[in-house]
């Protein structure tokens, strides 16, 4: 894993190899701008939050790739689900995810989001994050090192540049599927959906 100048060279060269033939030039330009400035929501949901300060400060410096923190969901692009989710946290993550505006991405950190990790027999955590939220990129490890997190971000940037990262569209189209799974786990009292543009779908103003 390179550091410093070689890392920036790798991200620049990534553009030259990506498949962009199926995008229009406006789309290509928009995706190029989006991947250069990723705002990460300030929410440490689990164990993985202990390796996020080293990634975003001066030693492993994620800001040279355009990644910085944002405090409010309205201005954030990426929500990092760092580790296991208990039921109480899952309810808040879903509510926060639905408050973010499109386009938005989900980065799942750690092995607990893949198959439950080492809390596989715990009565209060969920085992498979993909049933409840659409995931763009998984980063494995317990904890993943800061270099792994940076590599995860670079892969995410490549996917955004190629126009393939579209999990928010998947959430809108399959909303009943996700909602059914969320209600099965959290009970009937899941908050009303902030998602779909209500003035288009629910009869207008």
């Amino acid at each position: 894993m390179e550091e410093g100048f070689l890392l920036e060279q790798k991200t620049l060269e990534g553009d030259l190899n990506s498949e962009t033939s199926h995008q229009s030039s406006v789309d290509f330009l928009m995706n190029w701008f989006r991947k250069r400035s990723i705002f990460v929501l300030a929410y440490g949901t689990g164990c993985g939050a202990i390796e996020m300060p080293p990634t975003f400060t001066s030693r492993y410096d994620a800001e040279r790739l355009g990644i910085r923190g944002a405090a409010t969901p309205r201005q954030a692009d990426v929500i990092i689900v760092s580790g296991y989710c208990s039921y109480k946290t899952l309810r808040r993550i879903i509510r926060t995810y639905e408050q973010m505006s499109n386009p938005k991405y989900v980065l799942a950190l750690g092995s607990c989001t893949v198959n439950g990790g080492m809390y596989w027999d715990s009565y209060n955590t969920i085992k498979k994050l993909e049933d409840y939220l659409p995931v763009d990129m998984y980063v494995n490890g317990c904890m993943p090192r800061p270099e792994s997190i940076l590599e995860g971000f670079i892969e995410l940037q490549k996917e955004i540049g190629a126009g393939k990262a579209s999990s928010w569209q998947k959430y809108e189209e399959n909303h009943e599927f996700y909602r059914k799974n969320q209600e099965a786990v959290l009970g009937e009292k899941v908050e009303p959906s902030y998602e779909a543009d209500w003035y288009l779908y629910e009869g207008g103003l």
Binding site: L41, A42, Y43, G44, T45, G46, C47, A49, I50, E51, P53, P54, T57, S58, R59, G69, A71, P73, Y84, S86, K88, T89, R92, T96, M118, Y119, D121, S122, Y123, N124, T125, C142, M143, R145
Partner: protein, 367 residues
């Protein structure tokens, strides 16, 4: 015009909160009338998970109970199992355990520095502190193989011996730290903007602190020299020479001065350990893992972590599995009995400042 009475959540998704917890505040204007703490966002049911596992299976998940500082958990678990089974460990493994615990304490104090300075807006201190903490994590990676969750202290000793030249690298780091910690005095502790914000905020009285069972730097900031390493010495702390710093103010500034003085004491202890490290074996002969039975007995062990007194209650029942393991971290009483009383009458912008100075870490409250 009257000030409105509103209720807000200083909530889980917030850059000014220490971990994943929330405080529900009733405000009139900007003054807090009532505060209610909510935890439970990180509940994994550790005490139930451990009941299904044998000693070597439980050892892998015990270090994840407290996220910023995992080593006191491992040391407590090993000490409790050793007391129940009647195992004595060698001198060299005791010295190595003390070295790991003190390095972990120093790393946790750097993390506190980053949090406390970030809560007032001095972000440069945070960048320095996290970078210095990374140098300690490099040493841990060389010794144990992982940066954060070490899984190194096992009942019976430690798992691996020191690599060649490790003690020289530790000495080099300590001489760097002695020069570097003076920079933090200039930029943070003697900074007039920190002094203006912190003096006179969040005052705790001495009688209340003693009666309600507060621990750690809350007691030391009120003038009581309380430290498990001096009151009930464990491992080799009885032979080492160090002091317990105290201050008399009882406010946020006094607790900050206490923690800064403790960092100097940690460096002093580490120098003595590096000098006196004896030779010997690192692990005594233990029974086979699948046949290691714990007798039907119970015990209570405690360790001084960076935030206060950390204690475990363990009970066995004659089989290989652990019957009951209860974790009593320092934050349980601080987050409920102390915080809900201390925040009444404070301003909204001081909530993050007070929470960082008390050292509240939610994963050990709800395990």
């Amino acid at each position: 015009m009257e000030n409105k009475h509103i209720t807000i959540f200083h909530g889980p998704q917030h850059p000014g909160i220490t971990g994943n917890m929330s405080v529900e505040l009733d405000l009139i204007g900007e003054t807090i009338q009532k505060a209610t703490t909510h935890v439970g966002y990180l509940h994994r049911g550790f005490e139930k998970l451990v009941e299904r596992r044998t000693v070597i299976q439980a050892f892998t998940i015990v270090c994840r109970i407290c996220v910023p500082e995992p080593d006191p958990n491992e040391a407590n678990f090993a000490a409790a199992v050793e007391e129940l089974a009647g195992i004595e460990i060698s001198e060299r493994s005791k010295y190595i355990r003390v070295m790991v615990l003190e390095l972990s304490r120093l790393a946790a104090q750097f993390l506190w520095l980053a949090g406390q300075s970030g809560s007032i807006g001095l972000y440069a201190v945070g960048q320095w502190a996290i970078a210095d903490r990374d140098l300690i994590l490099d040493l841990f990676e060389e010794l144990t193989g992982a940066r954060v969750y070490h899984m190194y202290i096992y009942p019976g000793g430690v798992r691996r011996d020191l690599p060649e030249g490790f003690l020289e690298r530790v000495s080099k780091l300590l001489s760097y730290m002695k020069k570097r910690l003076k920079d933090y005095d200039d930029i943070f502790i003697n900074n007039s903007s920190f002094k203006n914000r912190a003096i006179g905020v969040g005052i705790i009285s001495k009688e209340e602190a003693l009666a309600n069972g507060y621990v750690g730097q809350v007691l030391r900031g009120c003038g009581i020299a309380a430290d498990v390493r001096k009151d009930a010495p464990y491992l080799i702390y009885g032979d080492l020479d160090f002091e317990v710093p105290t201050e008399l103010g009882g406010d946020v500034y006094a607790r900050a001065l206490v923690r800064r003085a403790e960092m100097d004491q940690s460096v002093h202890i580490l120098e003595q350990v590096v000098e006196k490290m004896p030779e010997g074996e690192i692990m005594v002969k233990m029974p086979a893992h699948r046949k290691f039975k714990l007798p039907k007995d119970d015990t209570w062990v405690k360790v001084e972590s960076a935030r206060g007194e950390f204690a475990y209650y363990m009970a066995g029942d004659g089989t290989e599995k652990i019957r009951r393991m209860q974790v009593r971290g320092p934050s349980l009483v601080h987050a409920y009995t102390l915080l809900e009383n201390l925040l009444v009458g404070a301003e909204l912008s001081d909530v993050a400042l007070i929470m960082n100075s008390l050292g509240i870490c939610p994963p050990e409250i709800e395990r």
